[in-house]
Amino acid sequence: MLALVNTGVGRVFEHRFILYRKTFRASIFSSFLTPVLFLTAMGLGIGGYVDRGGANAALGGVPYIAFLAPGLLVSSAMQTAAFEATFPIMAGLVWSRIYHAMYATPITPRQIALGNILWFGARLLLISTVFTAIIVAFGAAISPLIVLTIPVAALTGLAFATPIAAFSATQRTPDRFAAIFRFGITPLFLFSGTFYPVESLPAIVQPLAWITPLYHGVVLARGLSLGTIGTPQLPPELALLHLAVLVAFTVVGTWATIKTVSAKLVRG
């Protein structure tokens, strides 16, 4: 990590960090508030009704809040990632054009793309850590493996952030960003197994969940949080497959971001 500080990627990251420091208080406050509100309203509120008939087999026999919490964690990483990968990228390339200023120095477009992706990762790790600590405080964690949901949530975030950033770099106006949230992020949040098992959806809809990263992140995080990873509920091969999907999205998304950011910067 230290070796990274004095590279171009590290310097781009540093710029984002200096910027973040200014809004740190407000940002960290909302990182606390969001999970507290959701876990109280849905985990305790709705969960109170769900759990009334005793342990629910469809939820793996755990309290609803324990089922819900890892899903919310990963979904919240996705939402933060989608936001970070849209408006700030547009600002850097079109509005304040700060990426163009970076490119006028020894920094390369590749380093600009990677420095920002590194920043996404750091920011996602930070909010996921806060979220996970709150899950634990609510008593909604069953296995100590919940610690590993932090990197899983961050990786799921990157699986969204990188392809979205690649797309954002091709846009001149934010007009299409609303569509990403309306037709992408919000439906995924509702239908990717965060609130109920995907198996409750009509069979015809289920494959739609599989092709997006959120479902894979949620299943993996839930397996860790509930400690069912390695059991027949989530066999190791399947867990690896979920992980592979997330890695694949991130790798391809990173490659695409380097391409589109470079193209935009060279074009001017």
């Binding site: 163009h100 200023a101 970076m102 006028a104 120095t105 001017g268």
Partner: protein, 326 residues
């Protein structure tokens, strides 16, 4: 008067033509965007310590040329050497020695004035203590010391421009690239910027700038090229260009609306050259007063008569048949 002209045009004679002596060397430099040729096979050299300008209207290819020199846009064809290096292979190394003032500000408006210098200095790999030291000097130079902790968003256009120039100096560049440095500024802000740029020139910094302001080119450039439609149409010092392509003086005649259109034939022979613009008639002559007198002798009755010295505007009009700023 003619003595002064001879002296001021002298630097033109010593202009370097050997590639190894020039900081920037271009031959057949071309940039195409699809079917559009933005820069069409241009040749130029910029020597160390020189102040070199690209003069031309919007769309002439100035910015495309500057971006190629800035190593952020690869040439489609031709040779380009900067600081004796190749912009494609050595882009980051060359950029480390350039100071770039882009046409549009690229400041981080969410950061303060000083923080902008900090992050920018870090891009060059400078240490924080070094940047802090240089930032103090640069803020002073740009007269921004009192605004050091203000957020950039709240600065006026002129202050932002000064910060952009201060920022571009953080790496103590050998060459400064200024793309229309004063466009959009009020006269006061422009004069302050010119003064700062002039001081840099005095310190031996090589300046390369684009402009569509005649007075800016005349104030700042030792030598310039006139660009039109992606090509270089003339090259020389401001004085020598005026000598070559214009007369010593110009007499401007303005007539009542509608009257100018009825003058055909009556203007011929009044001066060495006569140009008709939509709103006035220009008489090019070494003795402007004599040309004005000749016009009156023919019974012409312009509403106003102005005798002035020739400027680069006249050069541009002569070369392209159009005025420079729309």
């Amino acid at each position: 008067m003619s003595d002064t002209l001879a002296v001021t045009s002298a630097p033109d004679v010593g202009a370097p033509s050997v590639s190894t002596a020039s900081l920037i060397h271009a031959r057949g430099l071309t940039k195409k965007f699809g079917d559009i040729t933005a820069v069409d096979s241009i040749d130029f050299d910029v020597a160390s310590g020189e102040s070199f300008g690209f003069l031309g209207p919007n769309g002439a290819g100035k910015t495309s040329t500057m971006r190629m020199i800035g190593c952020v846009s690869p040439a489609t064809a031709g040779t380009l050497r900067i600081l004796d290096q190749d912009p494609i292979a050595d882009g980051p190394k060359i950029r480390a020695r350039l100071g770039v003032v882009p046409q549009q500000d690229t400041l981080d408006t969410e950061l303060t004035v000083r923080e902008n210098l900090l992050v920018y200095g870090r891009y060059f790999g400078l240490s924080r203590p070094d940047i802090a030291k240089r930032a103090d000097d640069l803020l002073e130079f740009a007269q921004l010391t009192e605004r050091a902790n203000d957020q950039v968003e709240h600065l006026s256009g002129g202050l932002k421009r000064r910060l952009t120039i201060a920022r571009s100096l953080i790496n103590e560049p050998d060459v400064m690239l200024l793309d229309e440095p004063t466009t959009g500024l009020d006269p006061q802000a422009r004069h302050l910027l010119w003064d700062r740029l002039y001081r840099l020139k005095q310190r031996g910094v090589t300046l390369v700038l684009t402009t569509h302001y005649m007075d800016e080119a005349e104030q700042l450039c030792d030598r310039l090229v006139v660009m039109d439609k992606a090509k270089i149409v003339a090259e020389g010092s401001p004085r020598s260009l005026i000598e070559r392509y214009s007369t010593r003086e110009v007499t401007e005649l303005r007539f009542k609306p509608g009257e100018q259109e009825t003058l055909d034939g009556q203007l011929e022979g009044l001066a060495e050259r006569v140009e008709q613009l939509p709103d006035r008639v220009l008489l090019y002559a070494d003795d402007g007063e004599a040309a004005a007198a000749a016009a009156h002798a023919r019974g012409l009755q312009p509403e106003t008569v102005l005798v002035r010295r020739s400027s680069l505007e006249d050069v541009f009009l002569r070369l392209t048949g159009r005025s420079l700023v729309d």
